[in-house]
Structure formats: structure tokens, C-alpha cells
Symmetry: C2
Subunit: 436 residues, 2 copies
């Protein structure tokens, strides 16, 4: 061996910066199984506490990116732009965004994840469409991308395998919440998907993993700097996760809301964020000159039905039941519902959005452990959002469920999540800022 794992661990323990070769050696060794988990977890904790500088973050991302294959999209003769969200509550943006951007002639190769903690996952949402297959091979992934113009699938085993191993280890060793490790994890996966550039929806606020704007800004800088070193254009849109996006939280509920968007309707905030992210993607692709122009183009594709057409094509191509898309009344509905009423008059001044996400898990829309099964029809419908006036006894939200075992906890969480004030609050700002 070129280095000793022990020396890499003690270097970081003592606050020294790693060279590219050291990081390559360590990540390659771990991916191949030559370096055991217990040495890597000690190193991860040393990284967490002593930090990785910009160069080390870049070296780490690059080593993880090259731990597996990188999708070859050369046969797709279009600009290729991907979008990634850091995770939120009611965040169904991808479902309408990807087909709309595809309808503008830009290829969108998108690998998505499962729900994690209080945040939902695109794969779980797609699986509420009966038959929809999110486990595509690399070959199928490229084929669907070619035929439909976009594709959404789970991460294949061959892309960035180091990230899969490292993420699983970080998850159980308390080393997730570190900007450099988060940056390397996100970018290694995303760049391995073969996109030319990436638009990142960096969530901020009570329903995001980054609760503060400062934290979201630091992550955005780390992401854009590292992407630049890797020769990829990346723009971060820091969006406000201070309330759920749209009115639906839960898998089939969110798909139904997305289909409303794809029909030219849907809640304003969802449509706004779809067009903003889409506008940036089209600008990245060189299809438009301004984000504003891109927003209008996306809006057109939603109104014209072209985006919906792409979506139906994708559902069909990945084995899903298009009849539920064509008639959303045919989605399975939860057997019971309970509304949570306001106990005061006033205006909604804030919503603890993580609690809304957790309430949705308590009625079955997510998982507390990896083994939990998801109830696709369960979830929360949000009736009142920030700035809305509300009267005592009026419903704030409605829980949809089949299993009532977590119902009391869910009701209490929603009750506590809402703060009602006497004054009308300042208008909710959907996007805080754009970085990169």
C-alpha cells in the first residue's frame, strides 16, 4: 500500500490537511473493502470535528465520483441539466419540473432518493402510482431518458458506490451533518449521473435539514465551489422551507397535486418554485437568455399540456398505471380522515414544518425505521398557510390515514406546529437568494 490508513486517520485527527493522493487511497481502499468500517468511522469523526478545507472537499468528491462508473450520456445530443433538492416537506417539485424542462428540449437525468427523517422522497411518491418501477438499470435509465426526455430512478449500484458505503456509515456514527461530507455526498452522486450542469434547491428553515439561512448559505458556497473545481456549473437556489410546499404532504396526495400543476393549476408556491428552478435549468442549458424567460417557457409547457404528456409517457415507460394519472380520483384514498382545528382566532404566523413532516410519518406516509412500510394514501392536507386568517374551530389541516396507531401523536404535532398571531405577518418569501 502507498499509505497506511492509520496515518491518514492521525493526520486528520491532528488537524493536518490531506493530499489528493491520501484521499484517493483512503476512499478507494474503503470502496474495495481493504479499509474496514471502524477505521473509516474514526476518520469521519476526525473530519467532522477538525473539518476539511476546500481542496480536501474537492478531492473527496472527486474520489467518490470516481469510485464507480460515470453515466455516459454522449449519445444524447441535448443539453443535460439535473436538479437536486436537499429535502423538505411537501417537496414534490421534481414531478412537474422534470417533464416541463424536458418539454423545452433539455434532457433531465434524475436519480432520486427515499424519504429521510421528516423529509419525503421522490421515489416513494412515484411508487404511489401502481406499477411504477424506480429501479432501472443503467441501460434502461439512458433509454428512458432518450425516449421521454427525462428519467427518474433510484441510484444504481454502479454510480458512486463509495457514497453509498460512506453514507450508511455516517448515518450510524453521528457524522452526517458536516458541510464537506454533505457536499461530497451530493455532488459525487449527481455528477456521476452525467449531467452537464446542476440546479440545486437548497432548503432552509424549519422543514429543512439546514434550519438557518447561514447554514444554507455555507452549504451553497461549498457546493458551488466544489462543483466549479470539478468543471461543472452549479447554481444554488436557497428556498424557504418555513412552511410545507403546496397543500399536500404524503405520497399519492403529492402526486395528485403535481398532476394539477401539470394541468396548468396547482398551488401558487409549487408553481412558482417549479418555474424558478426550471428557469435556471433552461438558462444553464442555453435554451433561454434569462431566468425570467425560462420561467415563462416552463409556464407555457405546464399550460399547454406538453409537460403532462411527457409525464404520462414516463409513467407508461416505467410500468406505471396511466389511468390514475388521467383520472386522479382513481388513486387509492385513505379510509379515514380527521381535521385539526385552530384553537384561536388570528393569522397563521409560523408553522414548524418538520413537525408537519413527522405528523405525516405518524399516519403512515413515511418510515421511522428502514423496515417500516409506507402507506401511499396517507398524509396531511394543509388548509392554512402562513398569513392566512383563521377562526377558532376552523380546520388547519386534515390527516388522511388507514392505521390510527400514530394518530394522537400526529394531531398533537400539527396542533403544536401552528402558531397563530393577532397581527398579519410579513409576506412569506419563497426564495431567499441565489448563489452561483
Amino acid at each position: 500500500m502507498q499509505f497506511r490508513p492509520y496515518d491518514i486517520i492521525t493526520a486528520k485527527r491532528d488537524g493536518r490537511a490531506h493530499t489528493r493522493d491520501e484521499i484517493m487511497f483512503f476512499i478507494d481502499g474503503y470502496t474495495r473493502g481493504d479499509i474496514p468500517d471502524y477505521q473509516v468511522s474514526a476518520w469521519l469523526m476526525a473530519c467532522f470535528l477538525n473539518g476539511l478545507n476546500e481542496d480536501e472537499t474537492y478531492f473527496l468528491t472527486d474520489a467518490m465520483l470516481h469510485s464507480g462508473s460515470i453515466l455516459d450520456l454522449k449519445t444524447i445530443h441535448k443539453p443535460k441539466v439535473d436538479k437536486h433538492s436537499t429535502g423538505g416537506v411537501g417537496d414534490k417539485i421534481s414531478l412537474a419540473l422534470a417533464p416541463a424542462v424536458a418539454a423545452c428540449g433539455v434532457a433531465v437525468p434524475m436519480t432520486s432518493g427515499r424519504g429521510l427523517g421528516f423529509s419525503g422522497g421522490t421515489l416513494d411518491k412515484l411508487e404511489s402510482i401502481p406499477g411504477f418501477n424506480v429501479n432501472l438499470s443503467e441501460h434502461e435509465f439512458v433509454q428512458v431518458l432518450k425516449e421521454v426526455g427525462y428519467v427518474m430512478s433510484g441510484q444504481t449500484q454502479t454510480l458512486a458506490p463509495a457514497d453509498r458505503k460512506l453514507y450508511a456509515l455516517r448515518d450510524v456514527t453521528g457524522t452526517v451533518e458536516n458541510l464537506s461530507l454533505i457536499t461530497a455526498s451530493i455532488l459525487s452522486k449527481k455528477i456521476a449521473e452525467g449531467a452537464d450542469s446542476i440546479v440545486m434547491d437548497v432548503k432552509s428553515g424549519s422543514g429543512a435539514f439546514m434550519k438557518t439561512l447561514d447554514g444554507s448559505r455555507s452549504l451553497s458556497h461549498s457546493l458551488t465551489q466544489t462543483a466549479e473545481k470539478l468543471g461543472k456549473k452549479l447554481t444554488c437556489i436557497i428556498s424557504n422551507m418555513g412552511q410545507p410546499l403546496g397543500r399536500a404532504v404524503g405520497n399519492s396526495l403529492e402526486v395528485i397535486e403535481s398532476i394539477e400543476c401539470l394541468r396548468g393549476g396547482g398551488p401558487d408556491d409549487v408553481v412558482d418554485l417549479v418555474t424558478i428552478l426550471g428557469g435556471h435549468m433552461l438558462k444553464h442549458a442555453g435554451v433561454v437568455e434569462s431566468v425570467e424567460g425560462g420561467r415563462e417557457m416552463i409556464q407555457d409547457k405546464l399550460r399547454s399540456g406538453e409537460a403532462l404528456e411527457r409525464f404520462i409517457h414516463s409513467v407508461q415507460r416505467q410500468g406505471g398505471a396511466i389511468e390514475v394519472v388521467e383520472d386522479t380520483e382513481r388513486f387509492d384514498r385513505a379510509g379515514s380522515e380527521v381535521s385539526v382545528a385552530s384553537q384561536e382566532n388570528g393569522y397563521v404566523s409560523s408553522i414548524n414544518t418538520e413537525d408537519i413532516g413527522t405528523a405525516a410519518i405518524f399516519v403512515g406516509a413515511g418510515r421511522f425505521t428502514k423496515e417500516d412500510a409506507i402507506d401511499p394514501s396517507a398524509g396531511v392536507n394543509i388548509h392554512k398557510k402562513i398569513g392566512d386568517s383563521v377562526e377558532t374551530g376552523e380546520a388547519l389541516a386534515t390527516l388522511h390515514f388507514n392505521n390510527r396507531s400514530g394518530l394522537e401523536r400526529a394531531i398533537a404535532l400539527i396542533q403544536d406546529a401552528y402558531e397563530i398571531g393577532k397581527q398579519e405577518p410579513a409576506a412569506f418569501q419563497l426564495v431567499h437568494e441565489v448563489i452561483g
Copy 2:
């Protein structure tokens, strides 16, 4: 489970202090195999970087102590005092000390270790006596202690098993050199041996793991404070490891030098340290009122042959060949020797003692990896010590070896280890201070 390992890791990661219950849960879980290595190594690194306070160090030591059985020495109706050294070069003190203290009517239950890095190990030294068995069961350990008055053996599997697992993990994850972890490791093992009190030889200087007096002081304070919380009397003698102890470094060479001491001879520094440590042990035991009185008593036992008698009894009882003790000419000798000559006139002003220990390993007296076999006859004879005058061409040390593969490295290390000055240096101070 009462706690989640994850929460224990993140608590230490975030600099929070652990409760006794948390530490008990974590150490018990690890000992039983419920908590995997990769979680414990992340926690160890967090402990290393964020520290453990006095209470946590005590809780950890206590949890490790109670991870296995504690030797029951109630059937031995004598004061029981143990001695431990933090490891040095040429440190054969135990070999003459334990029989001398035993000859004063104090029981010495001593478990020892193997060579570690550049430092030698008592077990390796004892095994240079043909047939000597250092792997006693708990029952045999107590029996030999009863019959001989002292016993030296390897650590049994049942005492402080948590320390064995943790030490092996620390060794490969860069988490050895932490005062709290060192304290817990030493004391959990030592207290499990059932002694009433302990005299600790804390080495300091170039041939010790603690190179600085400040480091040795901090370790001494941590050891005495933790022992006090555990209700054990412990005294630390900070001794100067700035040159090898005595003139012999290497296993049979050191046993031979120890037998010289047991015959009332031997190098002054070895005899001095034996009587100083022995004096403290006898004072702990209540056999004498002053350390000075204890020193004289030990000196008497060395001169009278009573200590040697105990040693011979121990060798016999543990299966060793007493004929080599009675006639040290019968020890196997290394086939070749090479002297390393001074290249200057002057006085020996300093000796890099770690390098001397490493040179001994290069000629076969120690191990670089766990798999290496030891050549008991190999080693170094030190002719010149600090303050000695030396002329160009005069021998500084002689290497004894059978295998010449590491000879060049060994010669270079010894050459480099010696500093020759023009002025006679200040007298070498064998003991820096006594704490506790």
C-alpha cells in the same frame, strides 16, 4: 435498549459530558458485542478530540473494570501491592523488584504485557527463560501468588475484557494517546488484579510514550485522581527515561542483568529505581513508615539472596529452567556482535532512547508487527551513558544479533541516538517527582 449508541456518539461529538449510565451502557454493549466496532471507533475519536472530564474518566474506568471478573485475593492474608510501568527501554525493573518486595512479606500480583512499539515487555523477557509459562489461569495465578509471594503472568481473558477490545480498536484508529483513555485502560486492568494499592512508574522522556515532563505529570494526576475515586491508593513516580535503564536492552540480556541485581550487584540506576519503587510499595503496604526505610529493606533482600530465592521459586513454579538463572552463562547467546563506535571525543550529552529501543527491534529483540517472532538473545549492550566521557573510536554500544537483515538500520539508529558534547552535562536525574 436504555440508550441509543448513536446518541452517545453525538453527545461526545458535540462536547457534552456523559453520565455514568451512558458510559456503562456503551461499554457493556461493546463488551457483549451489541455495539459494533465502527460506532465505538467514532466515539473514541470524539473522546480523543473533545476529551473526557474527571468524572467521565472515572465512570469509564469503572465500567471497564466491571466488564469482567475482579480477582478475589481474600484468601491471601497479606497486604497486596502492585507496580506498573508505562513502558520504557531497558526497563527490567519488575524482575528484581517483585521478588524483593515479596521477600518483605508483601504480596505482588502482577500481570504484564508484551513489547509495544519501541518499549520492551516483561512477558517477552520472562519467556527468554526456557520453559517459563506466562499464560496462567486465574486459579494458577492465585496459587503461584500464594506459594511464591509474587506472580507475573499475562492478562487473563476474564479480567477487564472491555480493555482488550478497546485497546485493539484504539491501536488501529489513532486513538491511543489520550490521557483519559490511557488512564482507564491502565487502571481497569490493574485494579481487576485485586491489589489494594498500586505504585506506578510513569516514564518520561525520549524513551517513554510521554516525551515531556508536563505530559507525564498530567497522566500522573489523571491516574491518581481516578484511582482515588475508585477507592484505591496510587502513587506515581515520574522517572527519567532519557537514557536506557541499566546497560542491557533485549530479552535475555535484561534477564541476566536482573539476576545480577538479585545477587546484590547490577547497574546503579536499575538498583536505585528498584529500591525507590520498592520503598514506596512497602510504605503502601504499611511494612515501613518511610520510603527511605523501605529502600533499605529492599536493598537488604537483594544483598541477602532472599529476593533471588523468590525469583528462583517463581521460575520453577512457572515451568522455567532454573539452571540458566543459577548460571547465566547457560542462556543462549546471539551468534554475532557489532560495536558502534563514537565519531567524536567528548561527553555523552543525550541519548535518543526511543531510537535505542527501535535499534533493538531491528536486530530481533522486538516486533514491528504482531506476527514477528522475537529472538530472545538479540539486543543492545550500552557502554556509554549520559555524562560518560568518550573518545573517537571507543564503543558506545554493542549490538547482539543472529539475523543481520536489520543491522544497518540498527547501527545508524544508535549512531544518531548519541549526542556527544564538549562539556560534561549536568548529572542525570533518575526520578523527576512523586505524585499522589
